[in-house]
């Protein structure tokens, strides 16, 4: 089984930990508990070519909290999951800032963008044209809900498939 390191990156309270819990354990909690440091979870997934891959998912604290050690955490990653909160537009701006810093360090590394909290449609702040602009940058964008599970597995599977393709190119 091939092993791949994935890093989740995004502002605080966008739902990174909830997305991992939904993907790995299939559960969701309404309570918000801020993540400090790092938690690594793993889940096996089958790639489009039939191979099995073990995804080592690094759930990192929001940007402010791990600035000093962020470089060492990101090192060795095979892919990135950028997460924004669809009900807080500024969290997408935070993703843009993160990407601007990370892309030069890991050019061409597979990444997906998850716009989370899709279930809160009444409070949605990110329009389709904004998302199109992100897609035009070659990023795969998924509207997810950790609460309902909508598109969560698909998003991780998408990244896994991109990583597999990336590894084959190498």
């Amino acid at each position: 089984m091939i092993k791949r390191k994935i890093c989740l990156i995004g502002a605080y309270a966008v739902g990174k930990t909830s997305l991992v819990r939904r993907f790995v354990s299939g559960v969701f909690s309404e309570a918000y508990l801020t993540t400090v440091g790092v938690k690594i979870d793993q889940r096996a997934t089958r790639l489009p070519d039939g191979r099995e891959a073990l995804l080592m998912i690094w759930d990192l604290a929001g940007r402010d909290e791990f600035e000093a050690v962020r470089k060492s955490y990101l090192s060795g990653a095979s892919g990135f999951v950028f997460v924004a909160d669809g009900t807080r537009r500024e969290t997408l701006d935070a993703v843009a800032e993160e990407m601007a810093e990370i892309e030069p360090l890991y050019p061409g590394l597979p990444a997906v963008l998850l716009i989370n909290k899709r279930d809160l449609s009444a409070d949605w702040e990110i329009d389709e044209s904004t998302l199109s602009a992100w897609r035009d940058r070659g990023l795969s964008v998924h509207l997810t809900s950790a609460r309902t599970g909508e598109h969560v597995a698909e998003a991780f599977d998408d990244l896994a498939a991109r990583m597999a393709g990336d590894a084959e190119k190498v």
């Binding site: 801020t34 790092v38 080592m56 604290a61 060492s72 807080r88 409070d123």
Partner: protein, 373 residues
């Protein structure tokens, strides 16, 4: 004997701090516990042994095999902290740890300290949680305010604009009723009621606006200057009712407020005082500085405030006996606005003389220079 004693003390300290130290010598490259196997119970539970630890913990493996490479090679920092991470053992229980990598110069080997840091994590988490919760609450509040702002604009637009048309047409009718003078009183009553309704809409909008003010921003506002401008604008209205305005200005009083709303507060108090003043009466506006607060008083020579009315004077829709036609929201607006700036408003009857005194107190702006008396 002394060496054994030192080792025992060092072992006690490490145990109390919940730290294990792994060492490896250049010759064999394998990790071993400095204190000897098996190590403390928590170490065994979460990491097994020195030989198993790196393979058992994905984080530790990454830290040792990747992040610390420069440290081990002697080309990076002499020590490197991993930051905190959460480790879950096979039984499902989690604890938080931090690792520190260390390289001894001149090929003297490496060491790796692993410490349980649950207490530190909980402390940091409590602080961060509080900060995040506050930011999220503030944002939720901001969003609520934006919704209210939209509602306010609807009130102003959807109620106010048609009313303006009604008023304009009624006034037009009034001017061209030459052939039907008997209808003039009816038109006048309609104009009067429409104007009253417009005033009510304005009051309601003001109350909403007071709720939307939020914290003042920008430079401090001089309460005295705003008072001077407001009272000057009201001079014709006072004169028309035979009331004399008596301002008593003093040194500047910088307060953290929003000038337009501050002016509306003072205007409400002054108009109130003018309305309750007898013909030939005086309305005074004075300023003071007391205990780090700016004080502004509006006093009249009217009949004063009913004792029964005093406790609910600043609640919405409170009206005195002679105030038919008023919205009962003016003083409520004043209270909301002043309180949002951290101030207070009060009313009392003037002791030993006729009339009422309204007093607002606002905190002097931070950094404002004390003005000599």
């Amino acid at each position: 004997m002394s060496h054994e004693f030192d080792s025992a003390v060092a072992g006690d300290v490490l145990e109390r701090l919940e730290v294990v130290v792994l060492v490896r010598e250049p010759a064999d490259g394998g990790w071993r516990l400095a204190s000897g196997e098996p190590g403390p119970g928590w170490w065994v539970t979460w990491f097994g042994s020195a030989g198993e630890a790196v393979g058992r913990s994905a984080f530790l493996e990454d830290f040792v095999d990747r992040a610390s490479q420069e440290c081990w090679a002697g080309t990076g920092p002499g020590t490197l902290r991993s930051g905190m991470w959460e480790e879950t053992h096979a039984g499902g229980e989690s604890r938080f740890f931090e690792a520190i990598a260390g390289h001894r110069p001149s090929g003297a080997g490496d060491w790796l300290a692993v410490q349980a840091v649950d207490d530190r994590l909980l402390r940091e988490q409590a602080i961060l949680q509080s900060v995040h919760d506050q930011r999220l609450d503030r944002r939720r509040l901001q969003k609520e305010l934006e919704k209210k702002q939209i509602l306010l604009e609807c009130i102003m637009h959807d109620l106010g604009n048609p009313l303006a048309t009604v008023l304009m047409n009624l006034q037009h009718l009034g001017r061209h009723l030459g052939e039907r003078p008997d209808l003039l009183p009816a038109v006048s009553r309609a104009v009067s009621q429409a104007e009253r309704q417009r005033s009510l809409i304005r009051s309601i909008a003001e109350v909403f606006a007071a709720d939307l003010i939020g914290m003042p921003s920008g430079e401090p506002v001089d309460l005295v200057s705003v008072g001077a401008q407001t009272i000057a604008a009201l001079a014709p209205q006072a004169a028309a009712r035979g009331v004399t305005l008596c301002p008593f200005f003093g040194p500047a009083l910088p307060v953290a407020a929003e000038p337009l709303h501050l002016s509306r507060v003072l205007e409400n108090l002054l108009v109130n005082a003018i309305r309750h003043s007898p013909d030939g009466g005086n309305v005074s506006l004075s300023f003071d500085r007391q205990d780090g607060e700016a004080v502004c008083r509006v006093e009249d020579e009217g009949a004063g405030i009913d004792d029964a009315l005093l406790p609910r004077l600043f609640r919405p829709f409170t009206q005195g006996s002679g105030e038919v036609g008023q919205s009962g929201l003016g003083l409520y607006f004043c209270r909301l606005t002043v309180e949002q700036w951290g101030g207070r408003i009060a009313a009392r009857n003037r002791p030993g003389t006729a009339g009422a005194c309204f007093e607002i107190k606002l905190p002097l702006a931070t950094g404002a220079k004390p003005t000599p008396a």
